[in-house]
């Protein structure tokens, strides 16, 4: 187990360095002077002051070599210092800390909803593989695979907020303010993400279940006269859920992409909408900070998932 964890760590650490380096370097892709762009020259809230530009140059140490700048940036980043917005004066880490809980709640709710949709659907269609219920479920899943998150989101907004008026279309209610309102404001965005996520989970679960259901211990359970419900949920589900767990990790990237869009549509103040807003107002350091955080989070969560996977299914430890 330790060897397995070490191997996974040795694989992940260079990747973490590489993704942070790339996020850091992306600024250099910009045409023109970095310091001037950071000052917001050319945008509405431009700080048209040569001293500010000079300050930025000094703060970022733009005269130093890239490697030195990267290492010092990384050093600060590890301590949670990602620079500040020169347009509003807000610190990047503060802005992220303010927005992160919203995105985490959204992703968690979406993931739970997706699993709640996928497990019954997957079990039912594997149990009746090839029959009508299976065909209905797989066709439904297939159609949702063809729907980009923004189309699902605006359809949900139209049906549940405009036509039925059950949920608010936009707006965010804080957790501490009003629990019901908070959950209501998250329902549609989370459902939109869950609807694009569940077909993939359902498909994986269905395929694994079909092969599990051919195992001897399932025949034994059937021979003992156990009810199909009991066999499916108590005997077959657990050994069939390993791939599901890894997929949940791999799908995180898609889910974050979806969150960026869904947060913008439903006006949830999360990381995704902050990223879009920062891009539109050309807040480079904000963009840099958010993107590196997302990429590192993806690598770390997948590392954790891999290690969990090793703990759950010792066969892959070799």
């Amino acid at each position: 187990m330790l060897i397995y964890i070490r191997r996974k760590l040795l694989h992940s650490i260079p990747i973490i360095f590489a993704v942070t380096l790339l996020s850091f370097l992306s600024v250099n892709l910009l045409p023109g002077d970095v310091a001037e762009t950071i000052a917001g020259i050319g945008t509405d809230n431009a700080v048209m002051d040569e001293t500010v530009v000079q300050d930025i140059r000094e703060d970022l140490g733009l005269d130093r070599p890239v490697v030195v700048r990267y290492l010092s940036w990384l050093g600060y980043a590890v301590r949670g210092e990602l620079g500040k917005s020169y347009q509003t004066g807000q610190s990047v880490s503060e802005a992220i800390a303010l927005r992160l809980p919203v995105t985490i709640q959204l992703l968690l709710m979406a993931q739970i909803l997706a699993i709640l949709l996928a497990i019954p659907a997957g079990i039912f269609s594997a149990y009746r593989a090839g029959k009508l219920p299976d065909r209905v479920i797989t066709t439904l899943a297939f159609s949702f695979l063809a729907a980009p998150s923004f189309i699902v989101a605006i359809s949900l907004a139209f049906i549940f907020a405009v036509l039925l008026n059950w949920f608010p279309a936009t707006g965010y209610v804080q957790f501490s303010e009003d629990l019901i309102g908070n959950i209501k404001s998250f329902t549609l965005p989370a459902l939109a993400l869950a609807l694009i996520e569940w077909p993939i989970l359902c498909r994986v679960l269905r395929n694994d279940l079909i092969s599990t259901l051919q195992e001897d211990f399932i025949s034994l359970a059937k021979a003992k006269g156990l009810r199909p419900f009991h066999i499916l949920f108590r005997h077959a589900l657990r050994p069939s859920s390993f791939t599901l767990i890894t997929i949940v990790g791999i799908q995180l990237g898609n889910l974050i992409s979806g969150a960026v869009i869904v947060e913008s549509i439903f006006a949830l103040p999360g990381l995704g909408s902050l990223l879009v807003a920062s891009i539109h107002s050309r807040e480079i350091l904000m963009v840099q900070g958010i993107v590196s955080l997302m990429a590192v989070a993806y690598v770390v969560i997948n590392l954790v998932v891999d290690i969990l996977y090793g703990a759950l299914d010792p066969r892959i430890l070799r």
């Binding site: 694989h11 260079p14 990747i15 590489a18 993704v19 790339l22 992306s26 600024v27 892709l29 910009l30 045409p31 090839g130 299976d134 065909r135 797989t138 066709t139 297939f142 159609s143 695979l145 063809a146 729907a147 980009p148 998150s149 923004f150 189309i151 605006i154 359809s155 907004a157 139209f158 405009v162 498909r203 395929n207 990237g253 898609n254 974050i256 992409s257 960026v260 869009i261 913008s264 549509i265 990223l275 879009v276 891009i279 539109h280 050309r282 963009v287 993107v291 997302m294 990429a295 590192v296 993806y298 690598v299």
Partner: protein, 299 residues
């Protein structure tokens, strides 16, 4: 690049084992059911109007007819008119130009690069494999829409950059498929025979392995095209794709979303076209994949 439909068919057992979707009853025989022909007709119709849009008698996508502001679908304006009184039908068609160009080129370039990387990784193994797969993991660490948004933001949003960005996002999946199929072929007897005859690695890769793995890789390309259409749509929806006045599907949907309370057709007309296109590509792609792809479990 036309795939055509050569009448090579796998054994019935092999086909059955690949099955996931069971639309239409003919999927088990070699004939193509409604699941192929309906989306095929849709794609043909779309491609035809997109290619000949300049000759066909359709309205201009940029001219406004202010006597018909935000009109509902009618005989003159088949899909209605938008907030600036422009014909939605013609904007959808011209918008398809961007989506389809990008959706065609990016997966093709992505496949060429992915084939190269995947073959190197699968054939040479060792350091080549671990560094290429490391590179893939690095690309995957950035959520695809975030990656595309950021690169377009830093490098400028034009069609060339859009194609480059979307090519990058389609490299990982292509590389994985190419690597998996290379791994299974590089141990086969004919490769050993070629090596025994003194063939160079390059020759083996190009003449022995490539012809065998090309078809399984091509089988996935339509699915990648549909994913690219979705990403391109999302980018223009967020306002970071091709900037207006060029019509894009995502841009039209975003524009109409402001009026979703009163005029839902502004968003839902382009949205339905996008959805049907992606669905059609998936359905056709699934037909190809069922015929030619290697089992997904070996990826």
């Amino acid at each position: 690049m036309t795939l055509g439909l050569p009448s090579i068919s796998k054994s019935r057992e092999a086909q059955r084992s690949d099955e996931f979707l069971l639309i239409g009853k003919n999927t088990r025989s070699t004939s193509l059911g409604l699941g192929f022909w309906l989306p095929g007709i849709w794609m043909f119709f779309l491609l035809f109007t997109v290619i000949f849009a300049d000759i066909l008698p359709i309205q201009s996508p940029t001219e406004s007819d202010f006597s018909n502001l935000k009109s509902r679908p009618n005989l003159t304006y088949w899909l209605g008119t938008d907030v600036l009184a422009r014909d939605i039908f013609s904007r959808v068609i011209y918008g398809a130009r961007v989506s389809l160009t990008v959706a065609f080129l990016a997966p093709v370039f992505g496949m060429i690069i992915g084939l190269g990387l995947g073959m190197l990784a699968g054939y040479f193994k060792g350091i080549a494999e671990s560094s290429i797969m490391g590179l893939i993991d690095i690309i995957l660490a950035f959520p695809n829409i975030v990656l595309a948004m950021v690169i377009l933001f830093f490098a400028g949003a034009d069609i060339i950059n859009l194609i480059v960005v979307l090519t990058v996002t389609s490299i990982p999946a292509n590389t994985r498929i190419a690597r998996a199929s290379t791994l299974s072929y590089s141990e086969r007897e004919f490769v050993l025979a070629a090596r025994a005859q003194g063939a160079s690695d390059l020759r083996i890769l190009l003449y022995e392995i490539l012809p065998n793995i090309l078809l399984p890789n091509l089988a996935y390309i339509l699915s990648f095209m549909s994913i690219i259409i979705m990403i391109e749509g999302s980018l223009s929806f967020l306002g970071v794709g091709i900037p207006p006045p060029t019509p894009t599907w995502g841009g039209m949907i975003a524009e109409g979303f402001a009026d979703i309370n009163t005029d839902p057709h502004l968003s839902f007309m382009p949205a339905s076209v996008l959805f049907l296109t992606v669905l059609s590509l998936n359905l056709i792609g699934d037909c190809f994949r069922r015929r030619y792809a290697i089992r997904e479990s070996s990826l």
